[in-house]
């Protein structure tokens, strides 16, 4: 089992894919395993985070467990 990071919009291009499996653990540790460019992009203050489909108010310390899904949502453009 693993946790999953989901990248929306332009973050997919930075990540090189729409999602990525990561080992469970503290997000701070997981971020160090990503490319600096990707870590910077997903921690940008304009990027919202959603853990298991629920928006998170502020970027903070998160521990990802097996099966968790953390989505990174850049500014939207619909319509």
């Amino acid at each position: 089992m693993a946790a999953r990071l989901v990248f929306l919009g332009r973050l997919q291009d930075v990540a090189g894919g729409a999602e990525r499996e990561v080992g469970p653990g503290a997000l701070a540790d997981i971020l160090t395993t990503l490319s600096p460019e990707l870590a910077l992009a997903i921690t940008d203050e304009r990027v919202r985070w959603a853990l298991n489909g629920e928006l998170i108010g502020e970027h903070g310390a998160i521990d990802l467990a097996d099966g968790d899904e953390l989505a990174f949502l850049p500014p939207v453009s619909g319509g």
């Binding site: 989901v6 959603a50 298991n52 489909g53 928006l55 989505a71 939207v76 453009s77 619909g78 319509g79």
Partner: protein
């Protein structure tokens, strides 16, 4: 009635609007907006992506808040996802009310929120290359009219 749909294939807005208005016999006013992929320029295709856990629930909340805010009889919200070509509908909003002003305003309100306050990401293809579309300042200005 509140009718909210996320569609991943081309659709005919008239079909949905027709059954929506029939569900409100005796309505005083219905206002419908349809947005399509523009045919101008060199845009070959448009792709809308979404995040399933948030996008449809967010549209349902938007529909509920529009009904409450404008005292609507009902609202229809349809948004496409996936790849679209010039001339294909992307979005359709229809609001039914007893008087015209509420129907006009609710349609405008829903479109501003679908464009810059709903969970969609848009990119376009020109000369074979895909480019993400960033939200524009005027989209945020349109949205702020409703604060």
């Amino acid at each position: 009635m509140i009718d909210v749909r996320l569609l991943d294939a081309p659709f005919l807005p008239g079909q949905y609007v027709s059954s929506f208005t029939k569900a409100h016999p005796g309505l005083g006013a219905v206002c419908t907006f349809v947005g399509e992929v523009r045919g101008e320029g060199e845009v070959q295709a448009l792709e809308l992506s979404h995040y399933a856990p948030l996008t449809l629930p967010g549209m349902q909340e938007l529909a509920t808040s529009a009904v409450a805010r404008f005292g609507l009889l009902g609202i229809l919200l349809i948004h496409r996802t996936g790849v679209m070509h010039p001339g294909e509908p992307i979005v359709c909003v229809s609001a039914a009310a007893t008087h015209r002003r509420a129907a006009f305003d609710a349609t405008d309100f829903a479109m501003d929120h679908l464009k810059s306050n709903s969970w969609f990401w848009k990119r376009e293809q020109r000369a074979g290359a895909w480019r993400w579309i960033e939200p524009r300042g005027e989209d945020y200005a349109d949205l702020s009219r409703w604060d």
